[in-house]
């Protein structure tokens, strides 16, 4: 894993990618920091950070598109996958290299609360907690980008796919508000979600019996629950999906200045899930 980590990191800094990511993120953080904190006099750095979140939509794909798609394209994955390194090691090595690149501008941003302190009141606890969750949110997005990159051989498709998925995540709350709130609507929505999960399952496991079984059992359970007490189904889907809102967790840190442990756990478990899925995608390719 360390070998891959070192190589990846060197590749990011030998090419422009790493530098561009660091420079662009630092510039945007700097602009908002100047505008909000230095010029307008807000004492919370976290406001400036939340304004820069949108930049990730463009920058994360730049960082992640190459990671696994390029290995497959240039067939260097043959070297990695036939080496004694485990598949998890390969994926984690790459992931940690990207996190290291991300850590550079975030560490630079750690200076900002100190600058605020020099000019008056600062809120260290709130601001550094926000920086932590800021880093983790970007880490989730990088894990998404890495998964997409593992799915394709083309860097362009990886970049565009990641951008679209991140866009959906930013619009998550707005999209959820479009969902029907009635009980019947939730039932239909849950069934659609179930079908999607089963499709993913069958793509990963390659066994239609397993996914078919899950589909039938799941649908039976949902319909049974619905016929017993349809009242609980009202608003069920929007509420359930609302729990996965990435921005909500970030905002409770950045705007409400609350150390939101469930949000933190959501991020960490999403990272674990996405890394796991990436490993599975690569594993699956051996069997294609």
């Amino acid at each position: 894993m360390t070998a891959i980590y070192k190589r990846e990191l060197r590749a990011y800094f030998n090419s422009m990618t790493g530098w561009i990511f660091i420079a662009a993120l630092s510039v945007f953080i700097g602009i908002y920091f100047t505008a909000y904190n230095l010029l307008s006099g807000y004492t919370y750095f976290s406001y400036a950070l939340s304004a820069t979140l949108v930049v990730f939509m463009a920058l994360v794909p730049v960082l992640t598109m190459r990671s696994l798609a390029e290995e497959r394209h240039s067939k260097t994955d043959q070297l990695l996958l036939t080496s004694p390194a485990s598949l998890t090691g390969v994926v984690l090595g790459k992931y940690f290299a990207m996190l290291t690149v991300l850590a550079v501008p975030v560490l630079l941003a750690c200076l900002c609360p100190l600058i605020i302190r020099m000019n008056g009141t600062a809120h260290f606890k709130a601001d550094y907690a926000t920086l932590l969750i800021y880093f983790l949110l970007a880490a989730v997005e990088i894990a998404i980008g890495m998964l997409i990159s593992a799915l394709t051989e083309s860097q362009v498709i990886a970049a565009v796919g990641t951008f679209c998925l991140l866009l959906v995540l930013y619009l998550w709350n707005g999209l959820i508000s479009l969902l029907p709130t009635s009980a019947a609507g939730s039932l239909a929505g849950l069934l659609v979600v179930l079908v999607l999960v089963c499709l993913l399952l069958s793509a990963l496991s390659g066994s239609w019996k397993l996914s078919g079984g899950v589909l039938v059992l799941g649908a039976a359970a949902i319909i049974a629950l619905y016929s017993r007490d349809s009242g609980t189904f009202a608003n069920l889907l929007p509420n359930a999906l609302g729990n996965f809102s990435l921005l909500d967790a970030f905002n409770s840190f950045a705007s409400d200045h609350v150390f939101d442990i469930p949000g933190l756990l959501l991020y960490l478990s999403l990272i674990a899930l996405l890394v796991f899925l990436t490993v599975q995608v690569l594993q699956k390719r051996r069997w294609n």
Binding site: K6, T76, Q78, L81, T82, A85, R286
Partner: protein, 355 residues
């Protein structure tokens, strides 16, 4: 030791490798021979754990590639068809990365990289970016990567493709050096190359096992009744009369007649070159040329791996038929009956045997 048992790999409905089994003993140079698309690369990719087999097992030094992938891969150095190089690294950086990836202890890394570099004659290239290297050098960097760590089994997928003749000779020499204390498995679609380096040859066609033997034995089998090509100065009659006096000559055909020379193709049982030489010398009938028809091995390989199933089956039958004839040489009657039941092409041979 490498054991491949009943290997099957299906892509969609098509099988790229079809129930392939073979064993490679320690210290052998083992060659895969087959036309493009015969399943050589797929087999190698499965052996190295890059692809998973649909069915069957691969044991590398007792480790199952599917069950204990990491232990099995530790015993393997692999050069895929396209060398897996990172163009943004220098040769030295790349080899250092590979050494670390292969978990070579830090204290040995320098030394091993030095050895691999000198074996592949890359001493002057170590500071160059891989991006700027020519195809031959890239191939050598890939090779250096495969031998790093000096694993027990070194698998090379078409190591000499795209190299100039001199580089091909260098790589062959390297394979000979490696063979002293490694098992080397290599693939090629060029027969002469396999013949030059391999102790054992496996011919595959459309993912199926055709034959596996030493090159010498294959050659012997294929030229079970030796074919010689003669260019004799003299008339056809005089040449034929001399031929009739030589023991062991089964038959001949005249392929070309000019004013004062005759070109003949002679079939004999065993090597009769000396007898022919003396017979013609005694008759004061000059032999201008006398050579074994080695090209026929190439022809048979082409037939064995022919696109058309019929041609390939006929060629394969020739191999086994050669075996039957050899084994049953004293019992001509048995050979005859075996010949009668065989495919039509063996008929002429039977006739010749009877003569």
């Amino acid at each position: 030791m490498v054991e491949v048992q009943n290997l099957v790999k299906c892509y969609g409905g098509r099988s790229a490798v079809d129930h392939l089994s073979f064993t490679v003993e320690d210290g052998q140079v083992f060659g895969f021979l087959g036309p493009n698309g015969a399943g050589k690369s797929t087999t190698m990719n499965i052996m190295t754990g890059y692809l998973a087999a649909t069915e069957g097992t691969v044991l590398i030094d007792g480790h199952d590639v599917a069950e204990e992938p990491e232990a099995a891969r530790r015993c393997i150095g692999y050069l895929p068809e396209q060398p897996p190089l990172y163009p943004d690294m220098t040769v030295l950086e790349y080899l250092q990365f590979c050494a670390e990836l292969k978990e070579i202890p830090k204290s040995e890394r320098e030394n091993q990289i030095g050895q691999a570099v000198s074996m592949t004659h890359l001493e002057d290239q170590t500071r160059r970016l891989i991006r700027n290297l020519s195809k031959g050098f890239r191939q050598r960097v890939g090779l250096a990567q495969a031998i790093l760590g000096f694993p027990k089994v070194i698998i090379l997928d078409e190591p000499t493709v795209g190299l100039d003749p001199r580089q091909v000779v260098e790589i062959r020499e390297l394979i000979h050096t490696l063979a002293k204390d490694h098992t080397v498995i290599l693939s090629s679609h060029i027969l002469s190359e396999i013949r030059a380096v391999c102790d054992r040859v496996l011919i595959i066609r459309k993912g199926k096992f055709v034959v596996c033997d030493t090159p010498e034995a294959l050659e012997e089998k294929l030229s079970a009744n030796d074919r010689l090509e003669l260019l004799v100065k003299g008339t056809q009659e005089s040449a034929e009369s001399v031929l009739d006096t030589v023991e062991g000559v089964i038959g001949h055909t005249v392929s070309d007649v000019t004013e004062d020379t005759v070109r003949l193709e002679v079939r004999s049982d065993g090597d009769r070159r000396e007898a022919l030489f003396y017979a013609f010398a005694q008759a004061r009938c000059p032999l201008l040329e006398l050579r074994s028809r080695m090209a026929s091995l190439e022809d048979v390989f082409l037939d064995l791996t022919d696109e058309s199933d019929e041609v390939a089956a006929r060629a394969a039958a020739l191999l086994t038929c050669g075996e039957v004839l050899e084994q049953n040489a004293p019992k001509t009657a048995a050979a005859k009956t075996a010949g009668e039941e065989d495919t039509p092409f063996s008929a002429p041979e039977k006739e010749e045997n009877a003569q």
